[in-house]
Amino acid sequence: MSIFLDLIQSLFIRGSMVAVALTLTVTMNNALYQKSQLNFAKGQVEVVGDAMYADLLQANYNNSVAHVFCYAYARDFRFHGDINNDGVTERVRYYGVYDATTGYWSLYRELEGGVPLLMGKRFSSITFQYYDAKGKITADPSLIKAVRVNLVQGVEGATEGFTQVVQNFKIYPSNL
């Protein structure tokens, strides 16, 4: 009788060990996945921010057009500047497009009215703000001296902890 009890006890202990190991593996793997996704999203939104920063920095540089910003809305702006220093003024546009099926925004960059380049997707929020020489928020494109960009992107697959990454910067293009 005691042999059977020992066998059952042994099976129970081994089963528990396997269960603990499996649970631990799944939990740790999930943690690693969440961290990797967060890291990936942070890197991605930073690249988008850096590209916007680099473009906006050249606003009005070598500009042969009478105005700098054609228009400046909350999720869409277009400006002129020689972004690649080739002596020719380029027209650059950044704008967000809302996808009602996913509930997220996508950010596009358009150069000289050409084929739009998808810069990033899964943005829960895209906001552009414009400031005049006194630092006050303005909607007048002719008064713009600084631009604030705020991008909030959802982390794909993230269910706990940081589910969003934010890229927020204010840029003062020196040629404005």
Binding site: S10, I13, R14, M17, V20, A21, L24, T25, M28, N29, A31, L32, K35, S36, N39, K42, G43, E46, D50, A54, L57, Q58, Y61, N62, D82, N85, Y131, A133, G135, K145, A146, Y172, S174, N175, L176
Partner: protein
């Protein structure tokens, strides 16, 4: 029973250890990326500061711009170099190079001496009657 405990503790430690190292690696990669970004932003700020510094020297040169070429200045952990070319009493071309932690940034600008009122932006770079008119940040 004794060996079971050893196996349980060993397996648990192994799993936790492997994943902890992997998570640490992911975190380390992100910190490295973030640090690179900090250095890039610092280089941007230093380039602007270097431009102001150089413009200040030009504004106080009393027209002797030819004496102000290739001046280096150590600022914090970085080095700011600037080079003035094509200098005349009323204009010059300015190149500012910043090196901070291996991140380099080069900015070229045309500076002019104006007689009228100076265009002012939030961060317009000007000293006395001298102003930066064409500011280009080279992409590194």
């Amino acid at each position: 029973m004794g060996s079971s405990k050893v196996v349980l503790v060993g397996a648990t430690s192994l799993i936790v250890g492997i994943y902890a190292l992997s998570i640490k690696k992911v975190e380390s990669n992100y910190v490295a990326t973030a640090m690179k970004r900090v250095q890039t932003v610092q280089a941007d700020r230093l380039a602007e500061a270097g431009m102001r510094f150089a413009l200040n020297r030009i504004a106080n040169s009393n027209g002797s711009l030819n004496k102000l070429t290739k001046i280096g200045k150590k600022v914090g952990d970085g080095v700011v170099n600037f080079d003035i070319s094509n200098g005349t009493p009323s204009s010059a071309d300015l190149t500012v190079t910043v090196d901070i932690g291996g991140v380099t940034k080069t900015v070229t600008a045309h500076v002019e001496r104006v007689t009228g009122s100076i265009k002012r932006g939030l961060k317009s770079i000007h000293r006395g009657q001298w102003i930066v008119t064409n500011y280009y940040v080279h992409q590194g």
